[in-house]
């Protein structure tokens, strides 16, 4: 038990936690109940070292406390750092406890601290949208053929509150930055585990999960990391709208594998994504019909004219990329160029998708998972 752990768990000021620990130690020792308590202290003070006065902060065991205190010329502070039943060999368990508790409370880690900083305010959302937009282009870049159609879903979906995106995109961009080549393969692997995960995370009907799996396998290349964010919303659209339109379902299916990729990948941050999904579901209710409509439009266009689609989705895409003043990230520049090739390659993929979708309907009717070309 360290003072920090106590402070977070009980929700008290750190100084109070330290005093509480001291009090407990004193009382237990007075009671002489026989249970051996080992205490570590924090000592800080001035020390003459190498010719200049150095301020030393050290965590010491109780038996070394007096020795350390005598070494220091002036003592700045002494307080109880932690209490434990067993004698500690080294300080790593202390570090681990603190690390864990801080990790679970990362967002308000200074709440119980003795210093509050007025300047430490989270940045306002308008700052953030540039980040998601620019973060979108690197992942998009990675799959140049990636779904012109899927990208088409991207821009309208980017309108919803950027805050949530910031979180997801941030998480995502952090991961995305690290796994360029592994995306596709991992996505494939994860799509297979998708049914299990999906059952846990949200409750889709099994049919859809089969379709997801299938769609996932066949269209894995297209489903790139970025459009997951719109996919997430679409997935919310599905349970909230609850319209079993065959047209909308492939779209949600499209989202599903993406969402699953993300949830499987971000397993630790699953909670966060869930809450964000919940937020989005609240906000997105009114936008659902338009999104659904937009999707319907696009599907019809898919079947009718592929060239039309090439205009619609890539235009918002380059807009997004050009709109934010690009931060001097080298990645961004190289990605702006292939954005144009994306559009043309996307057209081809879209044609392929058309075929796939129709085949998917067939499979759905048959109730079995078939593989298409």
């Amino acid at each position: 038990v360290t003072y920090k752990w106590l402070s977070y768990t009980l929700g008290v000021h750190v100084n109070q936690a330290k005093q509480m620990l001291y009090d407990y130690v004193e009382r237990k020792r007075k009671e002489n109940s026989g249970a051996q308590l080992h205490v570590t202290y924090l000592v800080a003070g001035n020390l003459l070292q190498n010719g200049h006065v150095c301020h030393k902060v050290a965590v010491v065991r109780e038996d070394k406390l007096e020795a350390m205190k005598s070494k220091l010329s002036t003592i700045a502070s002494v307080h109880v750092y932690s209490i434990q039943k067993a004698l500690l060999k080294d300080s790593s368990p202390l570090y681990n406890t603190d690390y864990d508790i801080v990790k679970t409370n990362l967002q308000h880690c200074s709440k119980f601290s003795a210093i509050c900083c007025a300047a430490a305010v989270p940045r306002t959302p308008p700052d953030a949208p540039q980040a998601p937009a620019s973060a979108q282009s690197p992942p998009r870049q990675r799959d140049p053929g990636a779904a012109g159609a899927v990208n088409g879903h991207g821009p309208p979906a980017a309108k919803p509150p950027p805050q949530q995106h910031r979180g997801i995109m941030g998480m995502f961009a952090a991961k995305a930055a690290a796994k360029p080549q592994d995306t596709q393969k991992e996505a494939k692997a994860e799509a297979k585990e998708a049914p299990g995960v999906s059952a846990a995370s949200s409750k889709p009907p099994t049919k859809n999960s089969i379709m997801n799996n299938f769609f996932g396998k066949a269209a894995m290349n297209k489903v790139s990391s970025v459009p997951e964010q719109p996919k997430e919303e679409k997935e919310v659209v599905k349970p909230s709208v609850a319209v079993a339109e065959p047209e909308s379902s492939p779209n949600t299916v499209a989202e599903k594998p993406g969402k699953k990729i993300e949830s499987a990948r971000n397993q630790q941050k699953d909670k966060k994504s869930k809450t964000k999904r919940a937020h989005r579901s609240d906000d997105e209710e009114e936008r659902d019909p338009e999104n659904v409509k937009k999707k319907r439009k696009r599907i019809k266009q898919l079947q009718s004219d592929s060239s039309d689609e090439e205009d619609v989705p890539p235009s918002p895409t380059p807009e997004e990329e050009r709109a934010p003043s690009p931060p001097p990230a080298p990645a961004l520049k190289t990605e702006l160029e292939p954005a144009s090739t994306e559009g043309s390659a996307g057209g081809k993929k879209r044609k392929r998708k058309r075929v796939l979708k129709s085949k998917m309907f067939i499979d759905e009717e048959e109730g079995c998972m078939g593989k298409t070309g």
Binding site: C54, V60, S77, V78, D90, A119
Partner: protein, 461 residues
């Protein structure tokens, strides 16, 4: 500093819980302005030759050097270019130094097939007694002999030499001088105690976890969780934390994935990913409480050439949500509360260390200040962007605090200049090795090291 103020209430927390413990507000940031615009590169094009840097450097520093030469050797000193030299005439020449070293790793030798040479392993120092100094100006070059310390000087320094040309074509040097301290910057420092914490070499991602507790202790002290009330109130006076490079450890630079077969490295993640996540968490804890400036270093994921550009905020999603985080370039220059800070993550100093006989990082730091240039070895042995309009590493104004990160140990010195300049030189030690950071007091330009330690199985500290 800390301790004297804190001493009275030192034992205060060894007591039963009190009513409501005080919270101390952090001293607000009054004057902060970032002056490192010259180090930020916009569009980068590497298609230029590096010779332009030297030309610009010489042109930029020549007027100052000529002034210094005149003030040192008399107003009537004859200033000549190399092309105008007459044998035997005592004159002063301003030019760029070039040191030809036998052991200097040369890419041409490495790729030369006929020699069949194994590439030279990295040595701690590349100096040899047989090294020669050559002075170059815009058009010619001449060998230098005489009263000049060949071992100490490095390539790329601009200096003025006073002497005469010999018959054999060399230049006999009687005296030489550097640009000396740049002009004085007026002092508008704070009147009360304000501290800035300088730390470098956090070394996250390394295999050993020893430094992790110390890092956590550092964060706790700065955020005010550690220490008795007195110490916490002192910590509230820390206005800024500057992390000077090498946030990730050298272990994260796993280069062997390039050589290994693809099927072996498919599912592996670069070690730097975990390290950056850890860094993000640490920075988040710091950012919620104090403004932080993060400078990239040698092992950090940013470009290799100097000036290193700031880390991208996408890598630090949690921490960059706070306005208190500032990702800055290496080298970094800023005005904090009226005090001008200038510093690097240490690559320039360690490079000079390799090619010069100077062993002490503080000595090298002082020497770069006197030579008027942050990194004279820049295009030659240290990667640099091919500047052609101006050399941003020339020191035009004298900073009040001049630091370099990732030094082997902590050293600090207050330098007094002739025109009244006062510069605090600080070599910030590598935290992962020494668990020491530096606290600079802005009011009186003093610096105190602060060490953290836990206890190990065999520590008898």
């Amino acid at each position: 500093m800390f301790s004297e103020q804190a001493a009275p209430t030192a034992q205060g927390l060894l007591a039963p819980p009190s009513a409501k413990p005080p919270t101390f507000p952090r001293v607000p940031v009054s004057g902060y302005s970032d002056c490192s615009q010259p180090f930020q590169l916009g569009e980068r094009s590497f298609s230029r030759q590096y010779a332009h840097i030297y030309a610009v450097r010489l042109a930029g520093m020549r007027p100052g050097l000529e002034r210094r030469a005149r003030s040192r050797w008399g107003n009537d000193t004859v200033l000549r270019k190399l092309s105008e030299l007459q044998a035997g005439e005592k004159c002063c020449v301003v030019g760029t130094l070039f040191k030809s070293m036998q052991l200097q790793p040369s890419i041409l030798q490495e790729i030369s097939e006929e020699h069949n040479l194994v590439p030279q392993p990295p040595l701690p120092k590349y100096i040899q007694p047989s090294d020669e100094l050559i002075l170059e100006d815009e058009l010619q070059r001449i060998k230098l002999e005489g009263a000049i310390d060949v071992q100490k000087l490095v390539t790329g320094t601009i200096l003025a030499v006073y002497g005469s040309e010999q018959d054999d074509g060399g230049f006999l040097v009687e005296d030489h001088c550097f640009a000396d301290l740049p002009p004085l910057l007026p002092w508008t420092g704070p009147s009360s105690d304000r501290f800035v914490l300088l730390a470098s070499g956090l070394g996250l991602g390394s295999v050993s976890g020893e430094a992790l507790l110390s890092t956590q202790l550092l964060v706790d002290v700065v955020t005010g969780q550690l220490g008795a009330e007195g110490e916490q109130s002192c910590a509230a006076h820390i206005t800024r934390v500057i992390l000077a490079g090498n946030l990730l450890s050298q272990n994260t630079q796993s280069r062997d994935t390039i050589n290994k077969a693809k099927y072996l490295t498919k599912k592996t993640q670069a070690a730097s990913v975990e390290a950056v996540k850890m860094l993000d968490e640490i920075l988040l804890q710091l950012c919620t409480s104090v403004p932080v400036d993060v400078m990239p270093g040698e092992f950090d994921p940013t470009n290799y050439t100097l000036p290193q550009q700031p880390l991208h905020r996408c890598m630090l999603p949690l921490a960059s949500a706070y306005a208190t985080l500032r990702l800055v370039t290496n080298p970094y220059q800023a005005n904090l509360d009226g005090v001008r800070f200038l510093g690097t993550s240490g690559q320039n100093i360690s490079d000079i260390f390799k090619y010069s006989s100077m062993d002490d990082y503080l000595e090298i730091l002082e020497w770069t200040l006197l030579a008027g240039h942050i990194s004279p070895t820049a295009p030659d042995t240290l990667g640099c962007y091919p500047f052609y309009k101006s050399d941003p590493f020339i020191l035009t104004e004298c900073p009040h605090v001049y630091f370099c990160g990732n030094a082997p140990h902590f050293q600090s010195k207050l330098l007094q200049g002739k025109e009244g300049q006062r510069v605090l030189l600080v070599t910030v030690p590598d935290f992962s090795a020494t668990q020491t950071a530096c606290l600079v007091n802005l009011r009186d330009l003093t610096c105190q090291p602060i060490t953290f330690s836990g206890f190990g199985a065999d520590s008898e500290d």
